[in-house]
């Protein structure tokens, strides 16, 4: 029964489409438009103009990125933990990643190392590596997520950062903590993330003293943030209310960089 109805109906459709097509072909401007419609979108964005270089467009993108910082700060739950993994799930070898090649990893002497403390802190006394190793430590096997999209699971040991901040009498109501690094890297984080239970002043990797390629003598490990927010080779930290930016952040990476 359905098949019987198909015949005349489909004939009508074919005629309608042909009629349509004939009319369109009779109009050169429409024909051209139809032709262009096939590549609409791709072409207009790619060849129309170089919107990526427009200063006003960049300002708008920068403003939206600041707004996204705010949204992420609002979304951030200080009690929610990143998933943890077993030793068998660790990524081996854990990838090296920096803004330079592995041959340029800084060679820092641990014996005369001192962590400098600046800003809104009661006790600004610097810390030697020996003193840091004597503080209470814990361990985590967590996923490091890179802004590029890859991820790797590593085992990190060190001082819970919130404990350290309490120890030095940091102003917990301050907005930012800025980190300067021995490889000329620098980044900064929000106080809420600094106080997160999984945020750690990391001194060991997989039970061993932190190797140079992973940030000797000390890195900040945050499974709630993307890789570029986790500074390595930290030499000084400052508690501040002035927005400190960062190496990649100043070039356009999102500042909050949370995951």
């Amino acid at each position: 029964m359905i098949k019987k109805n198909l015949g005349p109906a489909s004939q009508l459709d074919a005629e309608a489409i042909l009629k349509d097509a004939r009319r369109e072909l009779a109009l050169p401007s429409r024909r051209l438009f139809a032709k262009r419609a096939l590549t609409l979108g791709g072409l207009s964005l790619l060849t129309g103009c170089n919107i990526t270089d427009e200063a006003s467009v960049n300002r708008m993108l920068e403003r939206i990125s600041r707004m996204n910082d705010g949204v992420q700060g609002w979304l951030f739950d200080p009690k929610r933990l990143a998933p943890t993994y077993t030793q068998a799930e660790m990524t081996r070898p854990f990838p090296f990643n920096a803004f330079y090649g592995i041959e340029d990893v800084p060679d820092i002497d641990g014996s005369d190392y001192q962590l400098e403390i600046l800003g809104l802190v009661a006790n600004k006394r610097p810390w030697t590596l020996e003193q840091l190793h004597k503080m209470p430590q814990n361990e985590q096997i967590t996923r490091h997520i890179c802004v590029e999209g890859w991820s790797a699971i590593g085992r990190w040991g060190g001082i819970p950062f919130s404990y350290f901040l309490k120890m030095i009498g940091a102003d917990m109501s301050a907005k930012y903590i800025d980190f300067q690094c021995g490889d000329d890297y620098h980044t900064s984080i929000d106080m809420a993330t600094a106080l997160h239970p999984q945020t750690q002043l990391t001194l060991t990797y997989d039970g061993e003293i932190l190797p140079a390629k992973y940030g000797f003598p000390m890195k900040l490990r945050m499974p709630t943030k993307l890789g570029y927010k986790n500074p390595k080779h930290i030499v000084s930290m400052e508690v501040t209310n002035k927005y400190p930016g960062g190496y990649w952040e100043d070039q356009g990476y999102n500042w909050f960089g949370g995951s």
Binding site: D13, T224, Q251, N254
Partner: protein, 204 residues
């Protein structure tokens, strides 16, 4: 008030104004997200190929991320307005339901023989219904898998639903690929039947 006589002279509105606005804003958001997404993909490809950088938006990874994270607001809010208006007005069910597999197969066969009906703009055939419903669901999947990648710690349910962080990237990729295939077919169909483009621009 228009008299009945006037109404019969004027062609009926196929696409209400809110639908046309959300459609074109969605087109803009989706194109920005796809082109910037390709650049982000290139930073760490999941599969053994890269997208030619001339086809991407953003200039570098940081720029592409800025575009991606800006357009996501347009995509999400515009999509929300579309879904609310479409379900609230009952248009969604009227246009896309019933969607019967048997009719899809019949219309698909007709389409393959070049005999598919496309003369009435305010009525979708079964293949169109399936295509549009699929792309709506695909966009929802893109948003959900994107959220799982963007905030994998903050949205543990979404992350687990996607099968973990790494898997969410694969889901996001294939949902993108489906959207690209849809857009290509969609644009070819519009080029074949340009009346549909006019209807999406002026409503009738």
């Amino acid at each position: 008030m228009a008299s009945p006589a006037l109404n019969t002279l004027k062609k009926p509105v196929v696409h209400p104004i809110w639908l046309r606005i959300t459609h074109w804003l969605n087109a803009l958001a989706v194109i920005i997200m796809i082109l910037s997404g390709w650049r982000i993909y290139n930073a760490s490809p999941i599969f053994p190929f890269r997208i030619p950088s001339e086809w991407t938006l953003g200039g570098w990874l940081g720029g592409a991320l800025q575009w991606h994270f800006a357009a996501m607001w347009l995509l999400a809010f515009n999509g929300l307005v579309y879904l609310l208006m479409n379900t609230g007005s009952g248009r969604l069910w009227k246009k896309f339901l019933p969607l019967r597999p048997r009719e899809v197969i019949q219309d698909m066969l007709k389409a393959l023989r070049g005999k598919l009906q496309h003369d009435s703009l305010d009525h979708y055939n079964a293949v169109q219904k399936l295509a549009y419903v699929s792309v709506i669901l695909d966009l929802i999947l893109l948003v959900v898998s994107g959220l799982a990648i963007w905030k994998s710690v903050q949205f543990p349910v979404l992350r687990d639903l996607m099968g973990g962080f790494d898997n969410a990237r694969i889901v996001h990729f294939f949902a993108m690929a489906f959207l690209v295939v849809f857009i290509v077919v969609h644009v070819i169909m519009v080029a074949l039947v340009p009346r549909t483009l006019l209807a999406m621009l002026r409503g009738r």
